[in-house]
């Protein structure tokens, strides 16, 4: 069945239009006699939503589903509820490495943990259904907005100035009275214009309007939200993040999968006078980019310095889309380098010094005519069953076995045991053992300046992400939309004068009393009607 949707003014309206888009005459066929006297429903100015059709097909049905504000509210509520459920127990993404989550949740949280894991809540935010909800909210935002903004734009920009009398008399703010002198509607124009109204006139009728732009506020807000949502989605899919990336003082370490390396040059911590609370910590850091041999096994990567920064809390090192934040530190004392002196035992004369990097020791060192081959290196030396071994890869107690060749030394070389820390030297009787082999040279460290010590390990959170600016832009647009809608109100006044009778209808969305005062002042100053108290203007307060 095709409804006849033509208004008596001649305008062809879409199906389900409540108020004629042109003259404003109420068109709802379900209106009862009683309804006919109630104030009009002015939402979206009574236009039909774009998707409202007489015979919806599949496309229309999908479109209608997402176009519904009710659906949008349910989607948001469901998302809110599952988001909060996801915070009850730790999420799986918090853990690093292989884990049996089934047992983890069961052992730590009992049967509730089991159920939690079984329902998939332990992986809420990365799950397909959570993303599905976000996508549906996004679709709803886009379609709801499109469906309303286009018809509303049409209704607000292409409307007739002359309205059907019922339209005026069924406004919440209205007046029906006799004029006292003349019928010159132009008297109102300067008064309204002084109050920043834009006035449109036709024979005996006028429309005054201000702040129409505030009607677009919600839609601008939605555009901002859509940008925000898309940026968040992209961020969750593509942004790189590495938590608790540990770099020891003096160490240069790759940032996994980025092609960047960072060096922790120096770390300093300042404490408050109580001696316990941290006041500030600073990491002097250098960022390198790998330019060659980045992924060639067996070769050293070639690094180029790209940035340098003193990282503090909330003051990360930033380079392009990469940010390194200081998050924590640990006291991990270890020796990272030593400047070792080679001395002739017979003459007691110094031969020369050589430098050892304890993270990456060379296989051979040369001092003048002497050659020192590294036979063994134990970063954290210990003894078991008469054999040396290392307890870790950290140079906490470094020990070397050198094969030294040189003048006055046996041709096949001489084995020399060398401990860098004096305490190990004593524990393992370094001098006694070397004496027994008849060594003619000795290795020693002159003073503490010849030892580089790393006291701390700094922990960083690394992020690499291009979406952050879009998130800010989206948030800013959405804020602008909110401000537009909140702080300005669309006010419209229709006035018609015909044969000594003045009809007035007015509509706004907020501050009806202020609006009424404004109208009463305009009427009184115009002298067109008997002066009236603003409370004589009918202003039906909505019951809901």
């Amino acid at each position: 069945m095709i409804d006849n949707t033509k208004c008596e003014c001649g305008h062809q309206n879409p199906v389900d239009t409540i108020l004629c888009e042109s003259c404003g005459k109420p068109l709802d066929p379900n209106d009862t006699l009683e309804d006919m006297t109630l104030p009009l429903e002015m939402r979206y100015d009574g236009v039909a939503r774009r998707s409202q059709k007489a015979n919806p097909n599949v496309l229309d049905r999908i479109w209608n589903f997402f176009s519904s504000v009710k659906v949008a509210i349910y989607l948001i509520l469901i998302t809110l509820i599952v988001s909060s459920l996801g915070t009850i127990y730790p999420q799986q993404s918090m853990f690093i490495g292989k884990m049996d989550f089934d047992t983890y949740y069961k052992e730590n949280y009992g049967w509730t943990g089991s159920v939690y894991h079984f329902l998939g809540l332990s992986n809420t935010y990365d799950s397909w259904w959570f993303r599905g909800l976000l996508v549906m909210i996004g679709a709803s935002l886009i379609i709801c907005s499109l469906d309303r903004i286009l018809p509303l734009y049409r209704a607000l920009s292409k409307r007739a100035i002359r309205k059907h009398p019922t339209f005026l008399l069924r406004q919440r703010l209205r007046l029906d009275t006799q004029t006292i002198q003349g019928e010159n509607i132009s008297n109102f124009v300067p008064l309204l214009e002084k109050r920043n109204y834009r006035v449109y006139q036709e024979e005996g009728v006028l429309l005054a309007e201000k702040n129409r732009f505030s009607r677009w506020g919600p839609y601008i807000n939605h555009i901002g939200l859509i940008i925000f949502l898309i940026a968040c989605l992209l961020r969750s899919m593509f942004a790189y993040s590495l938590d608790f990336y540990a770099v020891q003082e003096g160490e240069t370490k790759p940032i996994a999968d980025t092609g960047y390396y960072m060096k922790n040059e120096d770390f300093n911590v300042t404490l408050h006078p109580d001696g316990k609370t941290v006041k500030a910590y600073v990491t002097k850091s250098i960022l390198y980019k790998c330019v060659d041999n980045c992924d060639s096994p067996g070769k050293l990567p070639e690094l180029k310095e790209v940035a340098r920064h003193d990282i503090r809390i909330n003051d990360p090192l930033k380079y392009r889309d990469l940010s390194l934040f200081n998050v924590d530190y640990d006291v991990t004392p270890s020796i990272i380098g030593a400047n070792v002196q080679l001395t002739n035992l017979v003459t007691n004369a110094g031969i020369g010094k050589f430098k050892i990097d304890l993270f990456k020791p060379q296989e051979q060192y040369k001092v003048k005519d002497y050659v020192l081959d590294v036979m063994a290196y134990y970063p954290e030396v210990d003894l078991k069953d008469g054999k040396f071994f290392t307890k870790s890869t950290q140079p906490k107690a470094p020990a070397f076995v050198f094969l030294i060749k040189g003048p006055d030394m046996p041709a096949e070389g001489q084995v020399y045991l060398y401990f860098i820390r004096p305490i190990d030297k004593a524990t393992y009787n370094q001098d006694l053992i070397n004496e027994r082999t008849g060594s003619k040279v000795k290795l020693e460290i002159g003073n503490m300046q010849d030892v580089s010590i790393s006291e701390y390990t700094t922990y960083f959170n690394v992020t690499k992400d291009r979406t952050m600016p879009y998130i800010w832009v989206g948030a800013a647009i959405s804020m602008i939309g909110l401000i537009m809608g909140f702080y300005w109100h669309h006010r419209r006044i229709w006035i018609q004068i015909e044969q000594g009778r003045l009809l007035l209808g007015a509509h706004t969305n907020k501050n009806w009393y202020g609006f009424r005062k404004e109208i009463a002042a305009v009427l009184n100053q115009s002298g067109v009607i008997q002066p009236l108290d603003d409370q004589q203007l009918i202003n039906e307060v909505k019951q809901s």
Binding site: I96, D126, R131, P297, V374, Y378, P379, T393
Partner: protein, 173 residues
């Protein structure tokens, strides 16, 4: 009206594609990560102590025992002679044994192997890249990879003869 319809379809299609991609990627992320039993093993290219590069993908078709070890790790050191013996025993049957060292300096690995020789190649893994790719968190960890390149089993801890033999027999099939 017709134009509107096309616009509507286009908007729905864009939402469907973008949304579908976003939802779909939540499945892919999981599969990309890590090395689990039943999955195809991640690959790598690492150099041995002489600088010779060994690539796991070139060994496809052969059963592989991949052992992560460090000279600082006592159980690793204890199980190495056993792995070495087994490597010899199953050499004829195509078995490839590889040891990946856990980011120790070359001199450390060299001096260790001089005193504790093994007859299978030892590869250096600078900065533990391959260790991370295989998600190895405790040592030793040994991966058993079958001829199809699939991870047949992962053994964490010191291997004993019977356990090792059973797993090798399994991947030889």
């Amino acid at each position: 009206m017709r134009k509107n319809k096309i616009v509507q379809w286009v908007i729905l299609l864009v939402i469907f594609i973008v949304g579908g991609y976003a939802i779909g990627s939540s499945f892919i992320d999981k599969d990309e990560r890590g090395a689990e039993v039943g999955q195809i093993s991640p690959t790598f290219q690492l150099a041995d102590l002489q600088g010779e590069v060994i690539s796991l993908s070139e060994l496809k078709g052969k059963p592989i025992v991949l052992n992560f070890w460090g000279s600082f790790c006592e159980p690793c050191v204890r199980e190495m002679p056993l792995i070495s013996t087994m490597s010899e025993e199953y050499k004829e049957q195509d078995l490839v044994v590889i040891g990946v060292n856990l980011d120790e300096p070359k001199v450390v690995v060299n001096s260790f192997l001089r005193n504790n020789p093994v007859n299978y190649p030892i590869l250096l893994d600078p900065n533990g890249k391959v260790r991370d790719r295989f998600e190895v968190v405790s040592y030793p960890t040994t991966f058993f990879i079958n001829r199809d390149g699939e991870i047949d089993d992962i053994y964490v801890g010191e291997l004993e003869q019977a356990t090792l033999r059973a797993r090798i027999e399994q991947v030889l099939r």
